[in-house]
Symmetry: C2
Subunit: 527 residues, 2 copies
């Protein structure tokens, strides 16, 4: 049930007076539920509970954390149609997408449950003592990852389940042993409230301490700022715009005690189409990319916003084909009137740049809050000299850059900001003649794709979702996949610690039967 | 030979006019060599060379990097007495310490060489494709760590070899595949120049691209600031004061593209002596700690600056014993008149705090630049209420806090800033009654020591040298041990990439024979 209240730990609370509603962009009406913004007192209480809960939660077993994460997944599934309908009513996204994203969310929770149940993720490392070493004895040292402390999570507007309340950041932080305070996304506050209730139910059912999870309502920026600046908060996860992520990063790094912020932000996901591929498969590629650009109304952080080729008759034909294909796509609803408004403004700004040609702009009337897809094209020189053309237009929009030659194409890649992905489209082994382009692109991205589309982010250990700034604020971590847990943990050493008092992961007997580095050998053996 | 010039890549250069000399604190005279500060042009040239060299160096084999690192170790050893004498003349430290630190430096270089020669450090991970998966095919994803780009290293005054020019930060960054620009420490510019010449020789001997290493002279802060703000610099390593580290962190996080800074800074390394241990072994502990506090004239980042006990007759006796023992220690020289001056100022500030008792202050005359060791004591209340008492006094100084009871002791621990180490001194199993103290201490430190001293940092995989701020600016990494390489690398994914074009670490055939996570199983098998 959506109460419109905050979860301050396990307690529903609404001490404030400021309220807001979510919006149904498909119907272009406000939704009924009224959400009450958290007060300073409620925020303080949530942080205080999280800090207290951390003292217990940091040391509970992997099995207990796994039970909690699996229970969250179960409780989310138990929300059934209520969740799907609320999701759709707050996003304009279709039911199929809602169910797919719910599946991804549940899969992520269960993946982290498996990870902590198995236990080797703590990277246990043991160097046993050498008491008679000269000139000084070697002490016994044992290391493992431990959680950082309470984490604040800011969800993404475009993934109301998989990257929001119980999404990747929350699941990873809970797996690491960190309490989580979610700053609920105001555009899908109802979906968030339902998921929060599932988390609270799961916590109560699996005896997780009160305060390990809170859900804070807010439609503005002040509440988030209070949370990020709070001395008891130890890390921040964010998915959203460059402006928003950078603001949080700045607050966090200017604290007396700076804290890590992992913000996954904007990306235009450059796609390089090599000449032979253009010649042989231009028409097919145009179809494929028209689909990728408009998928989810272009509201993916991996949306291909920049297509790079070397000018040729084939490139001209591709641009024509892409323009033809994209206007064939059925327009769809955007997440919110604000996002729709921003799309139109940013598209207009892009389209009004000098020396730019609009080659496709969906002409027919569309429903309110529906996006009209568009394709523009510029010369390489124009792109190089106008940084405004490098900015993301969040929505079904892409720009084809016609480079003078390979040298200019390479120059453009080196000049790009950091990106989540880069794609190379190659005919057979053509790419082996363009290793300089691959090298340049690798330097700007977190993931390189061969002959595919950047949309679609597989959840698996080998996935990297992140990249050089501004794709993320710390390229040394991924936001997707089990390794995302590393963002919320730090290595910790025990020196000459009595075996009986060591955590299970580091005891001689290896009671958890985890893989450990023992005197430089990876093993599950006892000591 | 010490030329006093900068190494801009492989070239000696001195275009500037501003010069400085190092100082022999033992003899209280300036050393003869004249060092020329780098100009803006030289800095630009070094960064530009590093950025160009990165394009090649990022992809060279582990074997080639290992040869380079081992050659650096060889060339440092080949400097022989010249290096040792220069080191002593610039630090006031004895020859034994110089040789010990050289041994550590060489060991670190060879450890990183072994790491990259073996190759598994890249954390290769492979998820093979499932083309017939429903509803969508699973792509092939392969991940490994790749280097960040040019790294600027600021060496430590107190480790002119092991944490300076070719120290832990430099060795780790070169191992990761990052070019390094060292901002030479002005207090040991001669030692730095000799080591830089060894690195350049090694680079030339092993065909490492020009620009992978530069050594920049500077006696002020401007040169460092230019380096940290330079868009082509991608990460920073620093060892030194909180003030210095924080200034660099702030510059780096305020860049248009923020970059990671790993600064290992101050620490007072709290030591908790439990009541039974005090009763049974107070006198022995006093001797041991008098040694640890004065080791290296107290100029270690792990120096025990804070000793915590619960008030009792045993604690009184310990304080008396420690006071007696510490004045028996022979005073020794500090690194530099500036450090000596700061020690005296900070000691005076600490000693002049209200409700503080000075129980030992070395009274006899000492040579110029020699430190007079001291012990002070305060009540728990006094310590809690005066943050000035929490600040590091870099030198042979320690404070004993007499806590009212266990509750107050725990409260004090929770209130401490982040620390590199925490130590628990326990009689037999006494510690098992104080798990709340252990839990609190763990939350504030990077390494917990049982019945030992914090001085002495073993170089091994299970070491963590780092900790919550301000022990370091990013507790998720260690500055000591092979895992320090992780600071300078980021994960990177290839999706559906042709096997023949993948880096060796990710090819089906596993030509490097490294350990990889293949479809969730850690193995050296081929695919």
């Amino acid at each position: 049930m959506i109460t419109g209240k905050n979860y301050i730990g396990n307690q529903l609370s609404s001490k404030g007076t400021k309220t807001y509603k979510t919006f149904n962009p498909e119907l272009n009406i406000e939704n009924a539920h009224v959400f009450t913004e958290a007060t300073h007192e409620e925020i303080e209480e949530a942080v205080s509970l999280a800090s207290k809960a951390f003292k217990v939660y940091k040391s509970i077993s992997g099995a207990e954390k796994a039970a909690f994460l699996n229970a969250i997944a179960d409780e989310i599934l138990a929300l059934d149609d209520t969740l799907i309908q609320t999701y759709c009513s707050e996003t304009g996204l279709p039911e199929g997408r809602a169910k797919g994203e719910r599946g991804r969310t549940v899969f992520q929770l269960r993946s982290f449950a498996d990870l902590v149940q198995e236990g080797s993720w703590v990277e246990a490392s043991i160097d046993t003592a050498i008491p008679d070493r000269e000139p000084v004895p070697k002490p016994d040292l044992r290391k493992m990852l431990i959680p950082l402390g309470p984490v604040v999570v800011f969800g993404a507007s475009n993934f109301p389940l998989a990257y929001s309340t119980a999404g990747g950041d929350t699941a990873a932080a809970l797996a690491a042993g960190c309490p989580v305070i979610v700053k609920s996304h105001p555009m899908h506050a109802g979906t968030g409230a339902l998921v929060a209730s599932a988390i609270i139910k799961a916590a109560e059912r699996t005896n997780i301490p009160n305060g390990v999870f809170s859900n804070i309502n807010s439609s503005g920026i002040e509440v988030g700022a209070i949370l990020v600046k709070h001395p008891k908060v130890k890390a921040v996860g964010f998915t959203g715009s460059i402006k928003g992520g950078r603001a949080l990063y700045d607050m966090a790094s200017q604290r007396e005690e700076p804290i890590p912020v992992f913000a996954e932000m904007g990306s235009i996901n450059p796609v390089v189409i090599l000449p032979e591929a253009l010649k042989k498969r231009g028409a097919t590629l145009a179809k494929t990319y028209a689909g990728s650009i408009t998928l989810g109304t272009g509201q993916f952080c991996t949306n291909p916003g920049l297509i790079l080729g070397i000018k040729s008759a084939s490139l001209d034909a591709f641009i024509e084909d892409l323009s033809t294909e994209i206007v064939k796509m059925t327009p769809s609803c955007m997440l919110h009137p604000n996002i729709h408004g921003a799309y139109n403004r940013n598209k207009d700004t892009a389209m009004s740049q000098p020396e730019l040609q609009v080659v496709a702009d969906y002409g027919s009337e569309v429903k309110t809050n529906y996006a009209k897809q568009a394709i523009v094209t510029v010369k390489g020189d124009t792109f190089l000299n106008n940084p405004k053309l490098h900015q993301e237009v969040f929505g079904p929009f892409s720009m084809v850059v016609q480079c003078e030659d390979e040298t200019q194409l390479e120059q453009i890649i080196w000049q790009l900001e950091g990106q989540l992905t880069g794609t190379m489209i190659s005919e057979d082994n053509e790419i082996s003649n363009y290793q300089n382009l691959v090298s340049a692109l690798q330097n700007r991205v977190g993931r390189l794709i061969f002959n595919g589309v950047p949309t679609g982010v597989e959840v698996c250990p080998s996935m990297v979702h992140g990249g050089p700034y501004p794709a993320s604020t710390d390229s040394r971590f991924t936001a997707v996949g089990i390794n995302a847990v590393k963002r919320w943990a730090r290595p910790f050493s025990y020196q000459d610690w009595p075996n009986s008092l060591l955590p299970e992961a580091l005891k001689n007997e290896n009671p958890l039967n985890i893989s450990r580095l023992v005197n430089n050998v990876q093993t599950k053996n006892k000591i």
